[in-house]
């Protein structure tokens, strides 16, 4: 066979990071032309590292790379872009304060300095036509829902004539409907001859969309297989080398007294738009109240208002019998509330180490005489997070940005879990986590519930909310459109309500 069969050939790739972490230990990765190739592996297995090497962002310590049969050695992403490689990161690289068309123009300029704004738009129109990825041009990027921002990212890559498209965990922030649209677009792209590399932790998605799949484990290749020849169980076993239980035992809930109550709360955002338009609910000890909805329907503002990060414009919040409407977040955390935000950009300080990041929400627990920080206490808590959540990190003192995405997530969720909060607001707790870690977090949430804690679970992952919730609310444009027991909803019905349709 000629090597031309492959779009990407990476052989014997070794990557040692500057701090001595060996992220890849000689990996072979072969992607055929025009296929959708899945890349699977536990958190910290080296998937992102491998893709950053292919995209020229970092250099391999050893190994050979060929793109469409041609040996390459990239000095930076610009070289990779020239060879037709495009990458969509999990955290986007758009300029948040610019409009969509400005962002597209900017990215086209970087490959063609003579391009004009109209070129960018006409080309983007054509791509949108062919793929069905519709985007607005005049909106400011940061005001768009994540799903739309992602579409802009993809179109941006295609504008630069990408023939190989890398997507790093594109679905972890999407709702099922958005995932379906994304998959439609990916299939169209494949039909147009574009090769796609697709990283995900969701095995169902691997089965659904990929042609072949490569599994990495601890920096080594486990194997590359045809998707149609393996089942989900086998994939899971390849990944973690043990059986994974997909069904979680759930005892019936024993709800107790009300510990968190929202009374007709309204929230107005920085632009003066009302994002939460009168939400009331009661959350009891020993229950999980799920909130499902398409991102951007006010769930973030609701959570932030409950946590004390945002002011409510109207309404009251009662925490454990006390009106805390006027309390700030720090005071509410001290009263036993914990909040895991939906974005690591909010929850983590990239340049600070694990201990300093753990201190962020545990600060009141580690203060000594004269508000001195007892760092040894912080080290203890951090060690516990690492041990209980099996965080893979070279050291307590490594900057958190050097951890893999999933391991960062574990720290962000874990530092709240070890506080054993009485009232726990969690948004997208398992985003970016592998099957084993996801299972662990879900089991932990249930354990906290059984121990009498109250949990408000906000998630776009419908399987997650259906599986964990004792009661379920659907949020749409700042209101709870429906509230009921999870058994009363099917995925289809949920989808309709989430789109604003009440029967």
């Amino acid at each position: 066979m000629t090597s031309n069969e492959y779009a990407v050939e990476m052989r014997g790739i070794v990557k040692v990071y500057p701090d001595g972490v060996v992220a890849l230990k000689g990996v072979d990765f072969l992607v055929k032309r025009g296929e959708i190739h899945g890349l699977l592996g536990e958190n910290g297995a080296g998937k992102t590292t491998l893709m950053r090497i292919l995209y020229g962002e970092i250099k391999p310590t050893r190994g050979e790379i060929r793109v469409f049969g041609k040996k390459v050695s990239f000095r930076g992403p610009w070289d990779a872009i020239r060879e037709g490689i495009g990458m969509v990161y999990q955290h986007f690289t758009l300029v948040p304060a610019f409009t969509v068309k400005e962002n597209l123009y900017l990215s086209l300029l970087s490959v063609n300095p003579k391009a004009r704004l109209s070129d960018a738009i006409s080309k983007a129109d054509k791509i949108a036509e062919e793929t069905g990825l519709r985007i607005p041009y005049d909106e400011i990027v940061e005001e768009l829902p994540i799903g739309v921002q992602q579409r802009v990212e993809i179109i941006k890559a295609l504008l630069r004539d990408a023939r190989i498209l890398i997507l790093d965990e594109p679905t972890s922030v999407l709702t099922p409907i958005e995932v379906r649209d994304l998959f439609k677009a990916l299939r169209k792209l494949r039909d147009m001859g574009i090769t796609i590399i697709f990283i995900t932790h969701k095995l169902k998605e691997v089965k659904e969309i990929t042609d072949r799949v490569t599994v990495l484990r601890k920096g080594k290749l486990v194997g590359t297989v045809e998707t149609s020849k393996v089942d989900v169980k086998t994939l899971a076993r390849m990944m973690v080398q043990r059986e994974v239980v997909f069904k979680i035992e759930k005892k019936p809930a024993k709800p107790g007294e009300v510990v968190l109550e929202a009374r007709d709360i309204h929230v107005i955002d920085e632009e003066g738009v009302e994002r939460v338009k009168g939400i009331s609910f009661q959350l009891r000890k020993g229950e999980i109240l799920g909130v499902a909805g398409v991102q951007g329907n006010g769930q973030r503002e609701l959570a932030e208002a409950l946590a004390g990060i945002r002011r409510v414009s109207k309404g009251r919040i009662i925490l454990r019998g006390k009106d805390v409407t006027g309390y700030n977040a720090y005071q509410r955390y001290m009263k036993g509330l914990a909040y895991v935000p939906d974005s690591r950009g909010t929850g983590l300080i990239p340049d600070m180490n694990l201990v300093e990041n753990t201190a962020l929400t545990n600060l009141y627990r580690i203060l000594g005489w004269a508000r001195r920080i007892k760092w040894d206490r912080a080290v203890e808590i951090t060690s516990r997070v690492i041990r209980e959540l099996e965080v893979v990190a070279p050291s307590l003192y490594a900057p958190i940005k050097h951890l893999s995405g999933g391991n960062q997530q574990k720290v962000m969720v874990g530092r709240e879990i070890v506080r054993e909060p009485d009232v726990f607001i969690v948004a997208e707790p398992t985003q970016g986590l592998d099957v084993a870690a996801t299972e662990f977090i879900r089991k932990t949430l249930l354990r906290l519930r059984d121990n009498g804690k109250a949990i408000l679970l906000i998630s776009t992952d419908l399987d997650e909310v259906l599986q964990l919730s004792d009661r379920l609310a659907v949020i749409y444009e700042g209101r709870f459109l429906a509230m009921g027991r999870p058994e009363e909803f099917t995925i289809e019905k949920l989808g309709l309500i989430m789109g604003g349709i009440r029967e």
Partner: protein
């Protein structure tokens, strides 16, 4: 206590181990920038007709030979370096270190003179600088006025006001170009001056890295969104960093009075420029109090050496200023560039 020390030391070693590469690269960067700076300076000297070797030899040998004097000259620079760096850690550009130092010098001088006690003078200097810095912060926090603009205006306001006060209210009956003068017997030694500066830097280090307010300052600067998430009040962090930074600059101003001059001259020649040089000191010290002690010493050496060059070769001041300037720019450039990119990158995300 010894246990705490031990755990601190362990943490420190671990930190060094994990960031070994980063620290080495940092050191390499400094060495390379220094070489570049000296090279460019040498070329310029050569083209304007001086012997670069001779000039550098004077600068380095004379600049760094009298350690007592070096430490004293470094003391105010260390303080203004901190005055720039501490607010920067909170995400605020304090270029008002200059006038915070003036205010500290003035009030410190007055209090020390009246009470015959330099220690009270130093405290007064700190308070004066802190209030002057706090004013900038308050305008930023409560009125939304950009701190750079306020600082520039306040620098000149302070400059002329102080000259006026000295001439009108605190003139020296014996020497007309000076203010009231502290008696030499009440002043502190060179060694004490430097020690007090180091103590100031160590306290800053402790506050930044071992107290809750220091942590809040650093989080607010490193990721404002995280600070909001944790429930830290961004206003508090800005205010605190400016009070501390301004206070240290003021303390540095009093250190000059108490350790070197004993008075302020009516053209402010002994104070002028120290705050601006502090920006370079802070950047070269990589915004870390311990680093700033060393960069303060290095700067002081260059300045003293430059004065010797003027003295021995008759070169005009602009020549030595250019040389120091080039070296300083070369040394802080890579870091300043990274900071700037960070700042610009964040503008959009606010």
């Amino acid at each position: 206590m010894s246990e705490a020390l031990e755990s601190w030391f362990k943490g420190f070693l671990e930190q060094v181990r994990i960031r070994k590469r980063q620290y080495l690269l940092g050191a390499l960067e400094i060495v390379l920038s220094a070489l570049t700076g000296f090279l460019v300076a040498a070329l310029i000297l050569y083209f304007i007709g001086y012997d670069p070797w001779y000039i550098f030899e004077i600068m380095l040998t004379y600049g760094f030979s009298d350690l007592g004097y070096l430490g004293t000259r470094a003391a105010p620079l260390i303080m203004t370096g901190l005055a720039f760096s501490i607010p920067l850690l909170a995400g605020v550009f304090n270029i008002g270190g200059e006038s915070q130092l003036y205010m500290g010098a003035l009030l410190g001088l007055y209090v020390a003179y009246v009470t015959h006690n330099v220690w009270l003078g130093l405290i007064a200097g700190f308070i004066a600088g802190a209030l002057w810095g706090g004013l900038i912060a308050a305008l930023r926090v409560y009125r939304g006025i950009n701190e750079v603009i306020t600082a520039i205006m306040l620098n000149w306001t302070a400059y002329y006001t102080i000259i006026y006060i000295i001439l009108v209210y605190l003139p020296n009956p014996k020497q007309s170009h000076l203010s009231i003068q502290l008696p030499v017997s009440e002043m502190i030694s060179y060694g004490e001056t430097f020690t007090l500066a180091v103590v100031g830097a160590l306290i800053a280090y402790f506050i930044l890295y071992y107290t809750d307010i220091g942590y809040k300052i650093r989080v607010s600067g490193a990721n404002p969104r995280s600070a909001v998430y944790a429930g830290f009040n961004p206003k508090t962090a800005i205010m605190a960093s400016m009070l501390l930074g301004g206070g240290l600059a003021g303390y540095g101003g009093t250190l000059i009075i108490a350790g070197v001059t004993g008075s302020i001259d009516t053209t402010m020649s002994t104070l002028f420029g120290l705050g601006f040089t502090g920006i370079g000191v802070g950047l070269l010290g990589r915004n870390h109090p311990i680093g700033i002690i060393f960069s303060g010493l290095f700067f002081a050496g260059l300045i003293i050496g430059g004065q010797w060059v003027e003295l021995l070769t008759g070169a005009p001041p602009y020549v030595t200023d250019t040389i120091t300037g080039i070296i300083v720019i070369a040394l802080s450039m890579p870091y300043a560039y990274r900071l700037l990119m960070n700042y610009v990158g964040r503008l959009g995300k606010k």
